[in-house]
């Protein structure tokens, strides 16, 4: 496990903009999922997106790594319009951890090798051990994923995404499918990883308390529109 006593909340927000959206929107069959979303994600910050069910949180997240196509606006990754970046390259740069872990059949190590293998890279045993150690699964390399608990599977999912060395990590309600004990473990894990690796994250959560524990800034979505964005104090106590 990574050791850090530093809370993510205390991380200084860098001024460099890693990702910027401009009038980003998506509608399907006339139904607006997200509209006019303009915001920035700074390097090494954790931006939480909160809002009620159906407010467009996950829809917005899926637009950020282009799993869905915007029907308006675009996203800039370090100033480059992401439509100019090959989708497979973009998705390695912007990693995604989903609500359910969706592990591939096989061993934990095989899952970790999946991402690097897509660009023809081999992922060494040492790198696997280091990554598994980071997520608190030091000796799990040869375990079959079918035998993992929900919390363990989510840890493998996080490690698998990190194996691609993404510049931005998208977390889509990573603890909502877990029991309370696993939820606390995964949250602590994310706090440590984000802090120690100084990762830039966009976290979708319906849990405002979790947003307050993990994020440095928060964005509130309602009916696909950003209604507030700012520091935790500004937004959550507004």
């Amino acid at each position: 496990m990574l050791k850090s006593n530093k809370s993510v909340n205390t991380l200084a927000t860098s001024d460099s903009v890693l990702l910027r959206t401009e009038n980003l929107g998506r509608s399907v069959n006339g139904k607006i999922l997200v509209e006019g979303a303009t915001f920035e994600v700074h390097s090494a910050e954790v931006l939480a997106i909160v809002g009620p069910s159906g407010s467009g949180k996950t829809s917005l997240l899926r637009l950020l790594n282009r799993l869905d196509e915007p029907t308006s606006g675009t996203v800039y990754l370090e100033g480059v319009d992401y439509r100019q970046i090959e989708p497979r390259t973009l998705r390695r740069e912007i990693g995604l951890v989903t609500q359910r872990p969706f592990l591939f059949p096989g061993t934990v190590a095989e899952n970790l090798r999946y991402g690097p293998a897509q660009r023809g890279d081999t992922f060494s045993e040492d790198a696997i051990s280091q990554l598994l150690s980071n997520v608190g699964l030091g000796d799990y390399s040869s375990r079959n994923v079918a035998n993992l608990s929900g919390g363990e599977a989510q840890r493998v999912s996080v490690a698998r995404t990190l194996a691609n060395s993404p510049r931005l990590l998208l977390l889509d309600e990573p603890t909502s499918a877990l029991d309370e004990a696993s939820k606390i473990e995964i949250e602590a894990l994310l706090r440590n990883i984000v802090s120690n690796l100084r990762l830039t994250c966009v976290l979708v959560t319906h849990d405002k308390a979790q947003a307050a524990r993990l994020a440095s800034r928060v964005m509130v979505l309602e009916n696909g529109h950003i209604i507030r964005i700012g520091s935790m104090e500004e937004v959550l106590h507004a």
């Binding site: 399907v28 799993l67 497979r88 390695r92 990693g95 989903t98 591939f104 991402g115 660009r119």
Partner: protein, 262 residues
Amino acid sequence: MLKHLFHDPLHLVFAQAVVAALAAVLVVLLARKRRIHLESEVLIAMLRGLLQIVAVGSILVLLLKSSRWNSAWLLMVMIVAAGATSARRARGIPGAFTVSTWAIAAGAGSVIAVMTWLGVIDSAITSLVPVGSMLIANAMNTNGLALNRIRADVLAHAGEIETALALGAEPGRSVSPYVQAAFESSLIPAIDSVRSLGIVWIPGLMAGMLLSGARPLYAAIYQFVVLAMILASSGLTSLISTLFIRARLFTSADQLIVQPGR
């Protein structure tokens, strides 16, 4: 029993059709009791099938006296109709009709052409059209099964597929387990037909040949020939169809098109 009631062969065959259809209707009613509603689908399919086969029978009467090339035109029309029918199993996948039609044309069409050229299928209209239609119909069924399976698997495993995409996988790789499973499962009926030939069933073609006075051994071997051709044309159709439908599941930006709830 019907033979005693109807002496005119035409009346007899219509009576046989009604009795057979009633058996199917009975099954529909039994299914309805279990709250499985197949009424409209089965009734429309039976009516449509009856009208189509009567129309084809009438056309064959006319074709018997025309040029052999007309059978090629008729088979082409059948291929397009087969493409349209099986493409319905791929609802929501853009271009399924085009893929299906070309796959059936390449799969069944090439087997029909090669086998006719080699003399395995007699080029006379009375032989080429019925045997060709059997190959096309089975290719259609196989293609429909493959597309139906791919669609169902993609819907059921959209999370896994998008996880692979999110890790930077090529779209083709992200769906390859489901495409392979669809190809394999689509061929089960054709393989089982050959495997159980003569033990579980005596196919219609052989029965027809026996009724029309052909030697049993000749009828039996020719039936095997037809089933082997069906297996070849169905397998080729499914192989081509699953290969090309894979690309249609994604946009040019590698986004999964077929998703639950869309």
